[in-house]
Symmetry: C4
Subunit: 276 residues, 4 copies
Amino acid sequence: MKKLTRQRLHEIIFEADTKAGKIFDEFLLVFILLSVLIVILDSVQSFKEAVKNTFYILEWIFTIIFTIEYVTRIYVTRKPLKYIFSFYGLIDLLAIVPTYLSLLFIGAKTMVVIRIIRLLRVFRILKLMQFMRATEYLVASIKRSQYKILVFMMFISLIVVVLGSLVYLVEGPEHGFNSIPKSIYWAIVTLTTVGYGDISPQTVAGQAIASIVMLIGYAIIAVPTGIITSELIQGHKSKSTNTQVCHHCHDSDHVDDAHFCKTCGRALHEDEEKKI
Amino acid sequence: MKKLTRQRLHEIIFEADTKAGKIFDEFLLVFILLSVLIVILDSVQSFKEAVKNTFYILEWIFTIIFTIEYVTRIYVTRKPLKYIFSFYGLIDLLAIVPTYLSLLFIGAKTMVVIRIIRLLRVFRILKLMQFMRATEYLVASIKRSQYKILVFMMFISLIVVVLGSLVYLVEGPEHGFNSIPKSIYWAIVTLTTVGYGDISPQTVAGQAIASIVMLIGYAIIAVPTGIITSELIQGHKSKSTNTQVCHHCHDSDHVDDAHFCKTCGRALHEDEEKKI
Amino acid sequence: MKKLTRQRLHEIIFEADTKAGKIFDEFLLVFILLSVLIVILDSVQSFKEAVKNTFYILEWIFTIIFTIEYVTRIYVTRKPLKYIFSFYGLIDLLAIVPTYLSLLFIGAKTMVVIRIIRLLRVFRILKLMQFMRATEYLVASIKRSQYKILVFMMFISLIVVVLGSLVYLVEGPEHGFNSIPKSIYWAIVTLTTVGYGDISPQTVAGQAIASIVMLIGYAIIAVPTGIITSELIQGHKSKSTNTQVCHHCHDSDHVDDAHFCKTCGRALHEDEEKKI
Amino acid sequence: MKKLTRQRLHEIIFEADTKAGKIFDEFLLVFILLSVLIVILDSVQSFKEAVKNTFYILEWIFTIIFTIEYVTRIYVTRKPLKYIFSFYGLIDLLAIVPTYLSLLFIGAKTMVVIRIIRLLRVFRILKLMQFMRATEYLVASIKRSQYKILVFMMFISLIVVVLGSLVYLVEGPEHGFNSIPKSIYWAIVTLTTVGYGDISPQTVAGQAIASIVMLIGYAIIAVPTGIITSELIQGHKSKSTNTQVCHHCHDSDHVDDAHFCKTCGRALHEDEEKKI
């Protein structure tokens, strides 16, 4: 009996196939989002002063809920250690630790961001079927193009370092370019077309180099887009290539107008077999 | 006789297939654009003072025209209630109500934006054939990729919340990052490469995180572009391949203007078979 | 003899197939670029003061060259009026008129921009073969997707007008949003991710709307990109579909693995004809 | 024996196929990155003051290492002159010269950027197989679309020059547009959606033109993206389609792992024919 409960709990907490499992996931999702929302609103001075106690109490309620959840997760898994040191295991722990630590260290602002990391737990809902496939599809496409993207990133780094240094030389500290790292920062701001305008070139030469950085940044965005797009289309195609399966050797992935199996040479359809 | 007029009016007002219907739509389009233009210009102080009375009179003329149109629409539809509570029904009502309300509440600035909503009525002209197909095509492509786009949006939200909070921690209120919501706003401004520059990181650590946000924003734009593009191409393909199947060899994927099977050479349609 | 010279001149000036024609085009290109460069540099105060006379003389030299060219073009064409009122004919005239007019109206600054329009003449070199094809290809792709792009533009306009007005309402004149046209300008600056930062929302509600505008602008760029890309790929394909031409009915555009003409049903290759 | 060592050294230094060669490349990569990092950090005033001597010594250590490497490279190549005047030969020289020159000319800030150029040596690691292919693939796609990109660039230049001049005329020096080159700079900042905000139009006409520049910049990015994407997809296809042709029916376009013809069912390779 106890065995069954444990397995049942495992299904509910870790999986999303049963109805109870889906409801559990949805509740958890709401709790996570609410608890993150509280962390965010807590940072607004006016809010904090108005409802400080409410936030404090809610934070503890969510922490206790998450603690119960965490302990249950450890209890129901066959291999508790494996779960504890898994990616989600650590995030689950990080979701509850800061609140307990805040009892010891009063006013530790750093805790805020650690509490925000709870948001990563939201990604658990990706195990829902439709998201799963979409995510896998996107990740697979990005993975397949990793070397191309790396070459692109190297090229970007090179432009940013070399042209950033050049502008440092041309503009100098008097126009805000007071070190190469800052100039590289400016080059990134410019190349990515963000353009804060907190530092901007004042000399003609500096503006000429800036124009080059901008035009490169504007045109070169086509490259990662092209890479990802062509991989996504590729992914589409390999998915859409057809569903014929040879009756003899069970080979699949035939092209759309194939009449004979490309692997064993026998007819893919019986009626054609007779024709021969 | 009266019955006929009503049906005829329905054709003119709700459809765009007859000549009268097209002319009606074009007039309406001009009226809508003009009335919106007046609302826009009315907000410019110098204009308002110069021609206030003209604007006031024009606004009433357009409102009366739209009121007549609205009443006629209710009159000619078989199911008036269905129209009234439909999307366009509500927008048609919103187009006339603010002017009448302004008689009661003098100087209600909020009315301005409600009057702008008239612009949504312009989308009615999408019922014109060419736009219809283009719109359907775009909407279908976006719908097909909805889960991928949702995963992408979740990822964007995560980056914006986590990195925004991190910068809030690093920079602090003294550099303008005085709450997490404001830091998240900054992160959105940066990630989308808008870059107002009203708040920008001043510390080295803040600028380093900002650089990461920028580069992510710059590179990751490739993902939605890739998704939409691959869906649009997919849409293109499924539209241009054709469903004809040869009666003799069952070969498919014929081009649109094929009359004979590309594999066995026999006629695709029986009537053409006779022609030979 | 005169007839011949005229025809020969026509070939040289209007075409780019003969060697003389190419050399003429190249010289003209250099002259145009130089004359535009002078207009640009002439606007820089320090340059102007240093070399004013040189610029003045050069400007007259180029004007005389272009005048001779213009007169010759009129002389060699069969239908001078058609040339004069053609797009390039008008631009050729605009290239020389401002300098002559400057004798009458001293210091007319407006002339400067008209003189810049000379630059449009550079597009003449597109008649060189490689550019021709590339241009046609791009223009054809953009034309084919015109309705989709128009729908997209309407959607952009709607967002910009409605959300711009909303921010005008929320922020008001005290934060720089002093009229709806200015708020629409701000919305365009934000949606296109330019983000000058000269006007930026200060209230929480304004920043929330701004965030929505930014995210829409960031995500929606995928749509025109997808449209153009899918059309360009389509163009590629229709170009790559094969070169087989039926020996019997001269129909082309067969798919790559067609054995029989899709129009008349006869074999595309003689050897297959025998096989039947 | 000496011959062997030289050839062996050549393999290690110039190639990346042997294990020693890979280790050498990896060490070199670390040295290059470290030496560039020192140049960058050296420009930060606070760092410089704290550890000036360390940086000075490290710089000399790296210079000596690179000098030894450079001399060895000259020693092991068959054609030293060809190497010396090759692209990488010159960069290798530029990597060591500035440090020696700094002995003669004290405080030459220009040297800094020349030392940064060392970073280009990093591209040597592209000879590693996976990067090689990715790079070639990207470069080939860009090359194939060069004319289209050139036409696009011409169009961009035209917009930037003509609309930049127009805004110069409309806004004038009192709003920061004090010369045409500066206005062109502004137009580039706007078109590429960078938007520093250091110069921005103040008049209604100026803001209207700016809006047009922004919308063009926002929409037109689709064109290079479309060009590159369609070329990348083209590249994908030509790579993944296969050159096998059936000996019997001459059908082609078989998928990569096809052993039998998809049209007539016979073996694609004779040796496999025997296997049956």
